[in-house]
C-alpha cells in the first residue's frame, strides 16, 4: 500500500524559509518509516537564530525513512537525560521509537557547541551521546542529522552536501520570444543557502561537480555559442575550457578530477572526448556516425558510459577506455538516456521512455533487473546522492519545471517545488 501525504513543513522551518527558493514536500513515504522524536534543543541564554531540532527533523523526514513526531504531540520537552521519562514517549499516538534531545551552548571562542543524545524508547535506554561544534547552525544541524542517520541506518548521511541547479524564467511568461533569464545556483541539498553563481539571457546547462565538491563544470551560451566552463563555486571564478565549432556539451569530471569527459561535434557529429585538464590535450573516445552523448564515468575511471543511438534508438553503452571495447547496457524500451552510476558502480540511473512518458529508471547491473521509479512525466537529469540513498531529478509539476527526488528502491518520493521559474538539472555534490 502506498502512503501518500503532502507535508506542510513545520511552521518553524517555514518562518525561516523566506529566502530559500525551494520547499520540500514528501509526496510518498514508506509505510514502516521509523518514528523518531527530535525534541527542541535547549539553549543556555544565548539567542539562537535557527531551530536546530526542526532542521534535523526535516532532514530525517526528507530521507523518507523516518517519521518525525510533531512537536505539538510531545508530552514533555526534555533537554537533559535527567528529564527523560520513557512513558511520555510510549503512547501510540504521541510516541516514537527513538528520542533525540540536545542542548546548545556558545563557547568562549564564539563557536556553538551542541550536546545531543539518542534514546531507544522501546528498550528504555540511552543509545549514544555526542557533541558537535561549529559556527554555522544549519551546517551543525545537518552534521547531527548525518550522525543520527548513520547510527540508525548504518549508512553514511548525505545531509551536509550541496547541489547545483539551473533555473529559467521567461521575461514574459506568455511570450517565449520576449527572452529568457537563466541562473545557475548552488545551495545546500535541502534548498537553503542558495547562491546565484551565474546569470545570463543565454542558455546554461549540464552543471556537474568535480570530485573535490568545490568546482563545477557546465555549458553556457553567453558568448552566443555553446562553450564549456569550469567554476570555483566559492570564488565564482570561471574558466572557459572549450569553445569548438559545433556542440560543446555534457561535461563530466573523471573520478580523480584530472580529466573532463565531454561531447564535441567539431569533427562532424556528436562524439565523446576526454580532455586532460592540466595539458588541455583531447582524446577522442567514440567514433560513430550516430549521436553519442551524455558521458559519465565508471567509479574506477576506466570506462565511460554514454547515450548512443547507434542501435537505432537511444540506449546506454559502456566503452572501456584502454581496450575500446563497447558493451550495450540497456535493452528495456526504445529510449534510455542520460546515464549515471551509483558510487559502487552497481546501479545505473537513467531517463527511460515508456508509452511516450519520460521516467527515471534504474538498472541493477549485477542482477540485470530494470525498474521504473517515477510516475511523473518529462522526468530528466537524474543525479545520485553520494550515499546512493536518493536520486534527485527534474520533472514538471503544475506546468513548471521542479526538482524531485526518489529513493533508489522507488519507495520514497520527495518534491522540491520552487517559488520561481523553472528549476532543472540538479547535480548532487560529492561528500564534502
Amino acid at each position: 500500500m502506498k502512503l501518500l501525504f503532502v507535508v506542510g513543513l513545520l511552521s518553524a522551518l517555514l518562518s525561516h524559509s523566506a529566502r530559500a527558493e525551494l520547499i520540500i514536500e514528501i509526496t510518498e513515504g514508506i509505510t514502516n518509516a521509523t518514528s523518531i522524536a527530535i525534541v527542541p534543543f535547549g539553549s543556555s541564554g544565548a539567542r539562537v537564530e535557527e531551530d536546530l531540532a526542526a532542521i534535523v527533523s526535516a532532514d530525517l523526514h526528507r530521507s523518507g525513512q523516518f517519521a518525525p513526531l510533531d512537536r505539538s504531540k510531545m508530552l514533555s520537552l526534555p533537554t537533559d537525560e535527567s528529564q527523560v521519562f520513557y512513558r511520555d514517549w510510549q503512547s501510540k499516538t504521541n510516541g516514537a521509537e527513538y528520542l533525540v534531545i540536545g542542548s546548545l551552548d556558545r563557547e568562549a571562542d564564539g563557536k556553538f557547541r551542541v550536546d545531543y543524545q539518542l534514546f531507544d524508547v522501546y528498550q528504555q535506554k540511552s543509545v549514544k551521546k555526542w557533541f558537535a561544534k561549529g559556527t554555522d547552525l544549519r551546517a551543525l544541524s545537518h552534521y547531527i542529522s548525518d550522525v543520527l542517520y548513520k547510527e540508525l541506518t548504518g549508512i553514511r548521511g548525505a545531509f551536509s552536501t550541496k547541489m547545483v541547479y539551473v533555473t529559467m524564467e521567461y521575461v514574459n511568461k506568455n511570450k517565449a520570444s520576449a527572452g529568457q533569464r537563466y541562473r545557475l545556483y548552488v545551495s545546500d541539498v535541502d534548498g537553503y543557502n542558495e547562491r546565484v553563481l551565474l546569470e545570463s539571457s543565454e542558455p546554461i546547462l549540464s552543471p556537474s561537480w568535480a570530485p573535490n565538491g568545490r568546482h563545477i563544470a557546465y555549458v553556457s551560451f553567453k558568448s552566443t555559442r555553446p562553450a564549456i566552463y569550469i567554476m570555483d563555486t566559492l570564488t565564482k571564478q570561471e574558466k572557459k575550457i572549450t569553445g569548438f565549432p559545433g556542440l560543446n556539451g555534457a561535461p563530466r569530471f573523471s573520478p580523480d578530477g584530472r580529466e573532463l569527459a565531454m561531447v564535441l561535434s567539431k569533427d562532424g557529429n556528436p562524439e565523446i572526448y576526454i580532455m586532460n585538464l592540466s595539458s588541455g590535450a583531447l582524446k577522442r573516445v567514440t567514433n560513430h556516425y550516430s549521436i553519442d552523448t551524455e558521458p559519465a564515468w565508471t567509479p574506477d575511471g576506466e570506462s565511460i558510459i554514454f547515450t548512443s543511438e547507434r542501435g537505432g534508438s537511444p540506449q546506454i553503452y559502456k566503452q572501456h577506455l584502454d581496450s575500446g571495447k563497447v558493451v550495450r547496457l540497456t535493452f528495456d524500451g526504445s529510449y534510455n538516456a542520460r546515464p549515471e552510476l551509483t558510487p559502487d558502480g552497481r546501479f545505473l540511473a537513467m531517463v527511460h521512455r515508456s508509452n511516450g512518458i519520460f521516467h527515471i529508471a534504474v538498472k541493477d547491473l549485477v542482477r540485470g533487473t530494470f525498474s521504473v521509479l517515477t510516475e511523473t512525466d518529462l522526468d530528466e537529469s537524474p543525479s545520485i546522492a553520494p550515499n546512493a540513498s536518493m536520486i534527485i531529478y527534474a520533472t514538471t509539476f503544475e506546468g513548471r519545471g521542479v526538482l524531485a527526488a526518489v529513493s533508489l528502491d522507488g519507495r520514497v518520493k520527495v518534491r522540491l517545488p520552487s517559488r520561481i521559474g523553472n528549476v532543472r538539472e540538479p547535480g548532487w555534490s560529492p561528500f564534502l
Binding site: M168, A176, P203, S206, P270, T293, V351, E380
Partner: protein, 184 residues
C-alpha cells in the same frame, strides 16, 4: 537539373495559387489590386508593387519573381519527432533561401536547430544540431555556399510554443534561418 527546374516550376504554381488566395482574402488599405494581379506584402507592411506575377513571367522573368518570393519570408522549417529529415513541406522554403543565397554571395545565415522538450537536454542538443545540419545540407545542395552558413543548436532551450502538448511540440521541432548579413 531538370528535377530542380521542375521543382521550381511547381513552386511557382504553388506560389501563384497561394498569392491568388492571399489576394482574395486580404484587404489592403490603399488600393485594391487589379483582378489579374497580385500584390505581395513584405513583413514590414511596405507594399512591393509592380511585382505582378503573371503567366508570361514564367519563362524568362524568373529572377524578378525570386526577389519577392514569399517563401523567403518564411524562415522556419519543421521536423518530425526524433527525426532530422527535411520534410516535403519544407522544400519550398529552403529552395527559396538556397536560390537567394546563391544569388546573394554576401548574405550570411545562422541556421538554428531546435528540439521539443521531450527527451534529455544534451540528446536534444545533438538532435537540434542534426536538424540544423539537415537544413544546411539542403541549402548547399541547392546552390548556397558553406561559407554563407553557420550552424548552432539550442536543443530544447528555446521553445516558441510553451504548451506541453503535441501542437506545441510540433512548433518547437524546427530549424530557423536567421540572416546575419544581407537579409532578403
Amino acid at each position: 537539373m531538370s528535377i530542380v527546374l521542375n521543382r521550381k516550376i511547381k513552386i511557382m504554381f504553388a506560389l501563384i495559387a497561394s498569392l491568388a488566395i492571399a489576394g482574395c482574402s486580404s484587404t489592403p488599405e490603399d488600393t485594391t489590386p487589379p483582378e489579374d494581379e497580385t500584390v505581395i506584402e513584405t513583413t514590414d507592411d511596405t507594399m512591393v508593387d509592380e511585382s505582378s506575377v503573371e503567366g508570361g513571367a514564367m519563362g524568362e522573368g524568373y529572377g524578378a519573381a525570386e526577389e519577392v518570393d514569399p517563401a523567403l519570408q518564411n524562415r522556419v522549417v519543421y521536423f518530425d519527432f526524433d527525426k532530422a529529415t527535411v520534410k516535403p513541406e519544407a522544400v519550398a522554403t529552403l529552395q527559396a533561401h538556397a536560390n537567394y543565397l546563391s544569388n546573394t554571395p554576401g548574405a550570411r545565415v545562422r541556421v538554428e536547430g531546435h528540439a521539443d522538450e521531450r527527451g534529455t537536454r544534451e540528446y536534444n542538443m545533438a538532435l537540434g544540431e542534426r536538424r540544423a545540419k539537415a537544413a544546411v545540407s539542403f541549402l548547399v545542395a541547392n546552390g548556397a555556399s558553406v561559407a554563407q552558413l553557420e550552424v548552432i543548436s539550442y536543443g530544447e532551450e528555446r521553445p516558441v510554443a510553451l504548451g506541453h502538448d503535441d501542437a506545441s511540440w510540433a512548433e518547437n521541432r524546427r530549424a530557423e534561418l536567421k540572416y546575419t548579413a544581407e537579409a532578403p
